[in-house]
Symmetry: none
Subunit: 402 residues, 2 copies
Amino acid sequence: MHPNLIDSLVIQNKTKIVFLVMDGLGGIPVPGKLGTELETAQTPHLDEIARQSVCGLLDPVGPGITPGSGPAHFALFGYDPIKNNVGRGILEAAGIDFPMTERDLLIRINVATIDKSGIVTDRRAGRIDNETNKRICEKLQKNIRLESGVEVFFKPVREHRALLVLRGDHLHEEIEETDPQQTGLTPLPPTAIIPEARATSDLLVELIRKTKDILSDEKKANMILLRGYARHRRFPGLKERFKLNALAIAGYPMYKGIARLLGMEIAEQTETIKDEISALQKNFLKYDFFFVHIKPTDSRGEDGDFDAKVKVIEDVDALVPMITNLGPDVLVVTGDHSTPSALASHSWHPVPVMLSSKTCRPDRVERFGERDCISGGLGRMPMVYLMGLALAHARRLEKFGA
Amino acid sequence: MHPNLIDSLVIQNKTKIVFLVMDGLGGIPVPGKLGTELETAQTPHLDEIARQSVCGLLDPVGPGITPGSGPAHFALFGYDPIKNNVGRGILEAAGIDFPMTERDLLIRINVATIDKSGIVTDRRAGRIDNETNKRICEKLQKNIRLESGVEVFFKPVREHRALLVLRGDHLHEEIEETDPQQTGLTPLPPTAIIPEARATSDLLVELIRKTKDILSDEKKANMILLRGYARHRRFPGLKERFKLNALAIAGYPMYKGIARLLGMEIAEQTETIKDEISALQKNFLKYDFFFVHIKPTDSRGEDGDFDAKVKVIEDVDALVPMITNLGPDVLVVTGDHSTPSALASHSWHPVPVMLSSKTCRPDRVERFGERDCISGGLGRMPMVYLMGLALAHARRLEKFGA
């Protein structure tokens, strides 16, 4: 079934849908533990939901495919993750709320360090602080001009990461990245991959040369590396596709960026998981759809810290009654992808999910865990279908066909 | 997900993948037995692997579709079995290592017997032996010339089966087969199905007339029946698609043919299953991917002999430690399709599979059998995704998207 079939069936009502998304939730078992991180965690509240839910295992992109955060979240929200695969430049730009236009080429950059012979000695300029990053971007913004008149914007993101935007006509994204991926080498040239991209490539050569001059008096932050290009794309949002007034509650720029790209409003900045749930409570009457993004499950998985990931899951579990007490019509608990601490990275393993609502047909799953969800009523399915299921249980989809 | 998405994510490393493929493995239960052939067999070694694996049921082509060996094996190796459906002529040609060119039309033929009035009395010429087949093919090769100058090749395959190749320009495969499918009838004319195929059809009428003349002094092998046409097609191989140096260990021409079409090297000829596993051991350091094809499970299924199929599975089980002792990074045990002895033919039933590796998330399956695999972590999925999963567990796939 094409994931966009649901669009034509959508109706509006007053029901409320909550997606509680623990980033990188899925894991694999580790010797000496009770199973995966989720299986090892004590999760009485999540388990109670499981008993009233229909459960399953979701493939964010497909069997064997390890998704980046972009494709994984697009799939979560019902967008084909392959057709809508966008470059990190767009996600970063959306994350810092850069006002994109259709003429923009969005480029993710690292501020880096080179030595006198031009060799990269630190690809992250010693992870400069946000303040330094801001100062460097302002310095570049103030001093750089391209001969063609194409506009240039430098915007700090976090630490050594920044956004570079070229605004002009006929810009192309088919350009090689300049990050050599290791120190001891010079930056690579921004070579055009297709002939049509040559003019853009020439602009970037000019820009990099001028950047190097402007930053030549800096000790650490004296170069930039271009790491991912994306032409602007517009996406039909959740309002347009599903008639949902959606709120994203997320702490990290990229997830806010994805949410904004898909037409969600963004909740005020929060620091802790509890703050996020409080923001959900506070805004519960004002929206139809809530994306609550929990980052630390993924971060601790990426750290390779099994016990710390277990702890985050248990922390979330303790806050779950704050959500269930709101009485959402549909509550979905899942991850965007797996981040097993044993692998310390995103992985291809399918993600446990449970969907609770008055209209669901609970299966025999008694506990929220990967091996339990296997025998759940959703079986194993592509994640892109989850949004349609949530809309159906929220009574927001009409019958298909006569 | 399109099965070719994985191609763009492939990286190379030193991991080793073994596919142990028991042809026609899947079965259906029979009254008075413990279940299917696989469920009835005593398989302590396979069961031990099952406990460390992620299991499931695979559909070679799709629910309800009984696959031929071609589509089933294409799906096993990650090739869309519908888009890559090739005529048996190509598979036979590859199986005998006929050096195909892009101008070839490959035709599978039977040597047959006709009476004086031209009526087919034996569609297999009494299953002539390989020597006679060879003599007949050489006789035809030596004496036949087509007026157009299109080249003709006759190559014996086995018993009454042979390969006929036309080599020329603008040859077409859209031609009716000439085998009347029963004795007591004359061969059918090789009628063109589309207008563009008329010239090819005329060539075949000429060829059949001359063949009949040349063989008129033969008692049994005095006619040929044309049973399947295929224009040559080139396939990107496992090296090209997946950066795998692949070895096929298979006793039968057609499976070697499929493997060769997909760019695998072919191990020395082996006679027994044990010889095949020995060939795996001997070559284990030299390749990345091993296709070990076990034919007798299918043959005994086709015979309708339940107990003999059980015995083959038990024989394979006894040899499994020779494989696991090699320590492959990924071990997949499955079949290409089902051949229930109760049906004495290929069938549409999904095929049990287990995938074992350090990175897998074992489910609760304790035994390798059809009804156990239903509750496995792979669920029920198209077989074409198996190769991507194997590559993922072999850490040979990069992340998709930012």
